[in-house]
């Protein structure tokens, strides 16, 4: 800077020019000699850094509510636009103090904003996914309900999902009960027989259907066997030393099922 104006000769402005790197080599050497000796010059340098960083930050950081966005009424009069966040695009990505100084922190986008924006975006994406999956599952249920309803009575009550479930349960329940009462191969399992006799008591409804569906010869055979077992146990109770061959058709070690005879 060869022709500074008289006003530019003040210490503050000299410090500013030093900070932004606009002093010649000779002027820089002279000013640093001044810095060696004069505390006011040092404080002027600190003030110049502060004001420069504040100006840069004022033009880059978002405007707080209530603050002036532009440079007042002068914004429209100025051919160079306004101060504010809209200047970021026209500002170099790395703000500088002069040609070499680096104030990265005042110009870099704050990391917490990036984090918050990612969090919000991720939350919205998750909500969208949940809504899509929910919609898809409901559609699948409706489709399945439509198929079932088309193959059955199709009354209004069975169109609903709970109604379809109840109807399915009622259709499959006799099969399950039949398995329980007739399919057991375990000779110690008395549930089947007990279930048949329990049917006579009317304690449960399922075995009633099973008895009704059973062939008559099976019922007669089971009744005869149980009757023979009842006679044997009666004889055993009267003659504790009775010979086992008194009833040749009965298996010697066969025991009456506990609770089988009501």
């Amino acid at each position: 800077m060869n022709n500074p104006s008289p006003a530019a000769e003040s210490l503050d402005f000299l410090a500013f020019r030093y900070v932004v790197g606009e002093l010649t080599a000779a002027e820089t050497t002279a000013f640093e000699e001044l810095l060696e000796a004069d505390q006011a010059a040092r404080e002027a340098v600190a003030a110049a850094v502060e004001i420069t960083a504040a100006i840069q930050a004022a033009g880059i950081q978002p405007v707080v509510a209530g603050a002036s966005v532009s440079v007042g009424g002068a914004a429209s009069a100025s051919p160079h636009g306004t101060f504010g966040p809209q200047d970021t695009a026209s500002t170099p990505s790395t703000a500088t103090l002069g040609s070499t100084a680096n104030l990265r922190g005042t110009t870099r986008r704050r990391p917490w904003r990036v984090i918050v924006s990612w969090l919000v975006g991720g939350s919205l994406a998750c909500l969208g996914m949940v809504a899509l999956v929910d919609h898809w599952a409901a559609q699948r249920l409706r489709d399945a309900g439509g198929d079932l309803a088309s193959g059955s009575s199709g009354d209004a009550a069975s169109d609903s999902v709970p109604g379809q479930l109840a109807r399915l349960w009622s259709e499959t329940r006799p099969l399950a009960v039949g398995n329980l009462t007739g399919d057991s191969d375990d000779p110690t399992d008395t549930d089947g027989v007990g279930g048949l006799f329990a049917a006579g008591t009317g304690a449960v409804d399922g075995p009633i259907d099973a008895v009704a569906d059973a062939p008559s010869w099976m019922i007669a055979a089971v009744a005869a066997k149980l009757g023979a077992m009842g006679d044997e146990s009666a004889e055993a109770s009267m003659e504790p030393t009775a010979m086992p061959h008194s009833s040749p058709h009965v298996v010697p070690d066969a025991k009456p099922a506990a609770g089988a005879i009501p």
């Binding site: 800077m1 022709n3 500074p4 104006s5 006003a7 530019a8 503050d12 402005f13 410090a15 500013f16 030093y18 932004v20 606009e22 640093e32 810095l35 060696e36 000796a37 004069d38 505390q39 006011a40 040092r42 404080e43 340098v45 600190a46 003030a47 110049a48 850094v49 502060e50 004001i51 960083a53 504040a54 100006i55 840069q56 930050a57 004022a58 033009g59 950081q61 405007v63 707080v64 440079v71 007042g72 002068a74 100025s78 051919p79 160079h80 101060f83 200047d87 026209s90 170099p92 790395t94 500088t96 103090l97 002069g98 040609s99 100084a101 680096n102 104030l103 990265r104 922190g105 005042t106």
Partner: protein, 195 residues
């Protein structure tokens, strides 16, 4: 035992060092950034300066202690700058390193309220002064380039920038010290000539 009686390398008590750090660390950092143009290096030098204060500051006078600290920091900064220039020359020969994206100490250079104060003060500048501030600070033009682009003499450009900075600094000082008028900034601390 007064400060004059203490040996030159007598340490300063930690409480005084801590109080001094709380009061002057930010300003010292700004000063060092202005000298070094590198916030990270400035932070390192500031730490070294406070270490020197703790180790040898016992002999300094309380009224000149701030100047003593800044002078020591300035010497350390010049040493560090020379060393850094040598290191940079060596590093440039070895490899290129990407810029560090971690948080840097320069974020402590200005506070949010100062930014707002400056923003308001910019709004009170004349359009010509605003244009000059924009050219020089935002667009990183030199004064000569800014003057040419604005079609004004260099002296006029310097004068506008000087006036704008004075007004902004005054506004900043008034906000800092709670003054509303903003016409008279607080007087600077005495500027002792350090030996």
């Amino acid at each position: 035992m007064t400060a004059e009686d203490r040996p030159p390398d007598s340490p300063l008590d930690p409480a005084t060092v801590a109080a001094f750090h709380a009061e002057h660390a930010a300003e010292l950092l700004r000063f060092l950034v202005g000298v070094l143009r590198d916030p990270q290096l400035a932070a390192d030098v500031a730490q070294t300066a406070f270490l020197r204060l703790a180790q040898r500051g016992g002999a300094s006078q309380p009224e000149t202690r701030k100047a003593w600290l800044f002078r020591v920091a300035f010497h350390e900064a010049l040493l560090s700058r020379r060393k850094n220039e040598i290191d940079q020359r060596v590093l440039r020969k070895v490899a290129w390193s990407p810029p560090d994206e971690s948080p840097t100490p320069e974020t402590a250079l200005v506070k949010a309220e100062q930014i707002e104060a400056v923003r308001k003060a910019i709004g009170e500048l004349t359009p010509e002064q605003q244009a000059m501030v924009r050219k020089r600070v935002f667009e990183d033009r030199t004064f000569a380039q800014a003057a040419q682009e604005l079609g004004i003499p260099l002296g006029t450009a310097l004068d506008r920038m000087h006036t704008a900075l004075t007004r902004l600094r005054r506004k900043l000082s008034s906000e800092k010290f709670g003054e509303k008028s903003g016409e008279h900034p607080p007087a600077k601390t005495p500027t002792p000539r350090t030996p």
